[in-house]
Amino acid sequence: MSEQTGRLDRGGRIDRSRPMSFVFDGRAYRGFFGDTLASALLANGVHLVGRSFKYHRPRGIYAAGVEEPNALVGLRQGGRHEPNVVATTVELFDGLEASSQHRWPSLDFDVMSVIDRFSRVFASGFYYKTFMGPFRGAWMFYEKFIRRAAGFGDPPLEPDPDRYEKGHAFCDVLVIGGGPSGLAAALAAGRSGARVVLVEDGAELGGALLSRPQGGDTDAWLASAVGELKGLPNVRLMTRTTVFGAYDNLVFGLLERVGDHLPVPAPDQPRQRYWILRARQAVLATGMLERPIVFGNNDLPGVMLASAGRSYVNRYAVIPGRSVVVFTNNDTAYGAALDLKAAGADVAVVDVRGAIGAELDRAVREAGIALHAGCAVARANGRKRVRNVEVCVFDAVRGRIGATKSRLPCDLLLVSGGWTPTLQLLGQRGAPLAYDDKRAMLIAGAVPAGYRVAGSAAGEPGVRQRVASGMRQGGAAAEACGYAPSPEPGVLPVRLPDEPAMTGIAPVAVIPDPPGAGYRKKFVDFQHDVGYDDIALALSEGYESIEHLKRYTTLGMAPDQGKTSSFNALAIAAQMLGRPIAAVGTTTFRPPYRPVSIGALAGAETGLHFKPTRRSPMHDLHARNGAVFITTGLWLRPWYYPMPGESIREAYVREADAVRKSVGMVDVSSLGKIDVQGPDAAEFLNRVYTNAFDTLPVGRARYGVMLRPDGIVIDDGTTSRLAEHHYFMTTTTAGAGAVMTFLEYLLQTAWPDLKVQVTSVTSQWAAIAVAGPRSRDLIASLVRDVDMENAAFPFMGVRQGHLGAIPVRLLRISFSGEMAYEIYAPAGCGETLWRAISDAGPAFDLVPYGIEALGALRIEKGHVAGAEIDGRTTLADMGLARMASKKKPFIGSALMQREGLLDAHRPQLVGLESASGDMALRAGAILCEPGRHQGHGIGFVSSVTYSPALGRHVALGFVSRGLSREGDVIDAVFPLRGEVTPVRVRSAHFVDPEGRRLNA
């Protein structure tokens, strides 16, 4: 285990009493609680942490926060492995295991790094220009090799063992960012009584203050602010939480990392929680991010943002280098220079500006820091870590560079190219950003309603101003929600020390190559390896729109979404095109602000809970009876009830056989059921069904078909008339929801004058169909208060009575073609009902059957189902043209008269059977004139079954002019299996076409 050579003896916000060990690339290291993986690596002197995406260049840690472009690692093992984790955001835990990515065989020696030598060949867009030959489809050959080089990290290979949760939240004021301005905003809003949620990405509140030197007034203010907030019951503080997206109506997507800082989530706890938060006002106090300056080899390990250097020293007590050069174009980097110096490093500053303010100048001199004003770092040298930098005289106004003046040896180069307010969330709302010349930054232009920006996100120059603006915006947000401004105006932290502010920046984004020096790549987008030359190349080829530039070079498209690169790319493009930055514009901002795991967004909707399951009231009983279930929509329905050793085919044949020979029972509870009541119920049904329902006598049921307004069949079912103004409608399982919604739609929008109430009672009623020649005897043995005789209770009759003690509705209708009853009972009685019938069953040779047998029985009878009603079929196609009433209009009656729907050549429903011997038929076969097997044929096979009644395969299908082709032999073609089966067209009523069995 190595020493923490880079750890300072004192200071920092780490807890030295809680040492932690961790492993990186197989080597063990130590760190402390409060470290990030990045700070712990730096403490151990590890600078090389990864390889770049395209050229496999060695890369180190560049930042200290979410903007980190280089230090992506693979975290954890097995099912918990997570690729591309940003090391600067990983809180260290004991036993953490991480590895570098995208290198082979090792990080130190990566074979693929030879690519770097040919980087000019692999310049932006190279793949559009080659890999096209020598043969057609050659790309497929090259692509294999290119894909091998794809990706950063390895995907997990095992299922994720962790759970995820979702949460819904509501508040008046959402404050995004827990830095000084966010804390101030939350205080101001919270004191006024508003419901406030403050969301902070990091583990600790304080934002950039945490990276200040420790102790003193800053910490005192921070402690008192946080303390007060914690005491306010109307304020909720959410740390380790990212606002990743700003959506319509001030709805925000948040990701809370509940267990990511632990080795594994606590027992029963989720790993992450995704929040949907609805706010009435939002204050963005999201701070700013520092940006690099672009120069030769600016991606070497040991080159780092100045703010990061400062953060490592002050927050983590890590000194990332002993011999430090700070390269800047603005004042803020001097804070880092002074703090590193104070921590014992040798520090020199290279400033592109000719002069700096007197006060700063004095501070630098007093600290013993060498200042190279009017100079630039033109390039960094070193192999896997910076060894020295070349400093040239530089004219920041004209952008002119002189020859190399000196080489400053160093092991750390801190860079500050200025700051970019973190306004991604505003950008996601489509809010325009404006370029502010003086501060050389993009600031919020017009802010959308309900949003406010505070603190450094608003470009406020110093801490006091930031806190004041937080107070202002937080208070105003609460006021906008109707809360009186707090009686005690927020105490301004007058004693907060100020520091080098963001003034006097020289807007330099790139340092030209010094005269006579050789070529070095200058990186703009580290994560996607996009350099200055790539931008130049793209522009020279005409990819001038900033969006074309992005797409041609892939600038800003990496997981970091250009947090450190976008602005520089924009500035460079503007310079090359000779246009002002404002005219070039930014690319579109999109969620998420930081990458969000798929698992979190999926939440609890995973595995068997991906979608809820609907179960019939008799479900448990079926399970106990050994039913095999099948998923139909969201329902689980008994498919068949195998006897020991039975296959599905054997089981359903036995079941269907029993229905034809004795009696069977099947659970049909999933059918849609709609209660239709009111004085206009009959008129209403007349309008929605193609056939008449006003003529239906009380106590009778009728089969009905509904059309869509465009004349296509939407659903079918039976509807019974229970009383003059009371109907009971059934729909298909699949159609239930749509039919219900459609009925309500018609009643409320088209015909609000009709007095009809519709209620879905699907879940209220359990339903069992009892079918077979012995069904009447069976039911009669159980129902005492209904006369079951044929005459008294005829086919299509409806009765109410009791089965045992259970109140039931009895419908004498049949899907199977046998004498049959549907029995409806209150759902809670469903199991009792089933049991009562099956207990009486043995005497009648009763068999329970599932939906496979149900399907076989209905095909034998030529009854249509989902495979026939596929959203393209007309009534006439189904052979039901006679069901279209001529006496009254109905939904669809107008548009069903269109020529295409009347076309005589349309496919019509027919029965099909093998023309020679009993060959198996297959659904999905295409029907063709014999031997003419191309194009779209003349129809298709929709449903197929082995018919237990007939002892052979039968099918339903649609054939062009099918009704006139009875007896013709055509081909059922199934090229997927190379099969052609001659089939005979016949009536779809295979069994008992006269319907005698219904009454037998």
């Binding site: 310049a123 489809g137 070529y519 729109s545 795991s597 998923t631 659904a923 999905g924």
Partner: protein, 418 residues
């Protein structure tokens, strides 16, 4: 214009990549053209290309309000396939796939057509039957298709959920080997470069705001950069078809809806083909950078906002994890969306309009990327010859009135639910 090849690439690299020529000229609008194509997406650019190349049109302009390829061409999930069942669609999409297969060579621009195959999973016997019907139609039309069993699917794509925890177990799948993905931007740029080479003016940053009409005939367009006269005007503006057509007084069987797409962080290859999930409306592939690109349902309400919302984010991610549980710990880096021209039957329109001089190519719904070459090819034919090619003769505007919808899904005139 520089010819692209490995050789040029190396030669230019040695010259520090100086001296590459522009891929296309950024043309200034002229006073008039024979053909003005509105919309610089793949379809508009392909139309211009084929007009010039196949029909010898010498005076063609493409007018784009933003930057070319910035519409749906630049924001789709790039799936290319020809597994259509309805007569009228099948052969059109197959023609398109054949044009794709030629495209890189023809344009001398690598559009990276990667025919890695597409899998449509089936989760019920009924879905298997429907897949069989589709596959059989494909085969009868000379298009490759295979029907796979659960075991065959597992062998091909083992990372799908074959566990006991799958809410909708996979029973099998329809497979088209020649399906795959192509590089979205390259299609726009490649056609633009090709069209430019044939003299087409590509005019960016120029929005059509109205039409020039004379005696009930369209004779040009009003744009933000002035009036441009034209013998014929062709619209290829995707989600904005209704909006632009209305400037000429036309109402169309189209609604505009949002469709989102998502990309994850790049990872090493884990998914080697395109998969679409039969238990939900979800599809995914892994691009050559390593990111998984995925999409699902429409956001479900009319919108020109080009900005998707959370309900579909959640739904898509739940779908993703249900189909491929290993995706759980991968992260989404970007969520974007496009505005779709959804027709009432889900099939496109390539047709003369009722107004002389105005032609419409639109209604591509969420499936028009794969149609890009054939759409351009047929639209060019329709514009040049004033009558449809047989491949697009059913893509008319009046098919709804005549009852000849091409309803591939059977969804009816509720496009938001397609």
């Amino acid at each position: 214009m520089t010819h692209y090849s490995a050789f040029t690439l190396i030669r230019k690299a040695l010259g520090a990549n100086r001296g590459w020529t522009r891929a296309w000229r950024n043309a200034e609008p002229r006073a008039g053209y024979d053909f003005v194509i509105v919309g610089g997406g793949g379809h508009g650019l392909a139309t211009a290309y084929y007009l010039a190349k196949e029909h010898g049109a010498a005076s063609v302009a493409v007018i784009e309000k933003g930057y070319i390829g910035g519409g749906n061409t630049g924001r789709n999930t790039t799936i290319v396939r020809s597994n259509y069942m309805i007569d009228g669609n099948t052969r059109f999409y197959e023609k398109s796939l054949q044009l794709w297969e030629e495209m890189s060579g023809e344009l001398n621009f690598n559009v990276m057509l990667s025919q890695r195959g597409q899998l449509n999973t089936c989760h019920s016997p009924a879905q298997m039957d429907a897949a069989a019907r589709r596959g059989n139609i494909m085969r009868m039309n000379g298009i490759d298709a295979e029907l796979l069993t659960r075991e065959e699917v597992r062998r091909r794509v083992p990372i799908l959920d074959f566990s006991d925890h799958a809410r909708f177990p996979i029973l099998g799948a329809l497979w088209q080997q020649r399906a795959g993905v192509a590089r979205h931007d390259a299609v726009a740029w490649g056609y633009a470069r090709g069209a430019d080479r044939h003299g087409v003016d590509i005019i960016q940053g120029c929005e059509v705001k109205g039409f020039l009409q004379e005696q009930g005939r369209i004779v040009g367009v009003r744009t933000t950069r002035g009036d441009i006269r034209a013998q014929k005007v062709g619209l290829a503006v995707a989600g904005h078809t209704s909006h632009v057509a209305r400037m000429a007084g036309l109402r169309l069987p189209i609604e505009t809806h949002l469709l989102q797409a998502f990309a994850t962080e790049p990872v090493k290859p884990m998914l080697h083909c395109v998969v679409s999930f039969g238990a939900a409306h979800f599809y995914v592939s892994q691009d050559d950078k390593g990111g998984l690109v995925m999409g699902s349902d429409l956001d479900g309400y009319n919108s020109y906002g080009q900005r998707g919302d959370l309900p579909i984010v959640e739904e898509t991610m739940a779908d993703a994890k249900a189909l491929i549980p290993l995706l759980s710990r991968l992260r989404v880096v970007r969520q974007w969306s496009g505005v779709m021209d959804m027709t009432m039957d889900g099939s496109p329109i390539i047709s003369k309009s009722p107004i002389d001089g105005l032609y419409i190519d639109g209604g591509w719904c969420y499936g028009g990327f794969k149609a890009t070459p054939a759409s351009g090819w047929c639209f060019a034919h329709t514009l040049a010859k004033d009558r449809p090619h047989e491949l697009n003769e059913r893509f008319t505007l009046d098919r709804f009135r005549r009852g000849h919808q091409l309803d591939e899904k059977g969804g009816g005139p509720t496009p938001w639910a397609h």
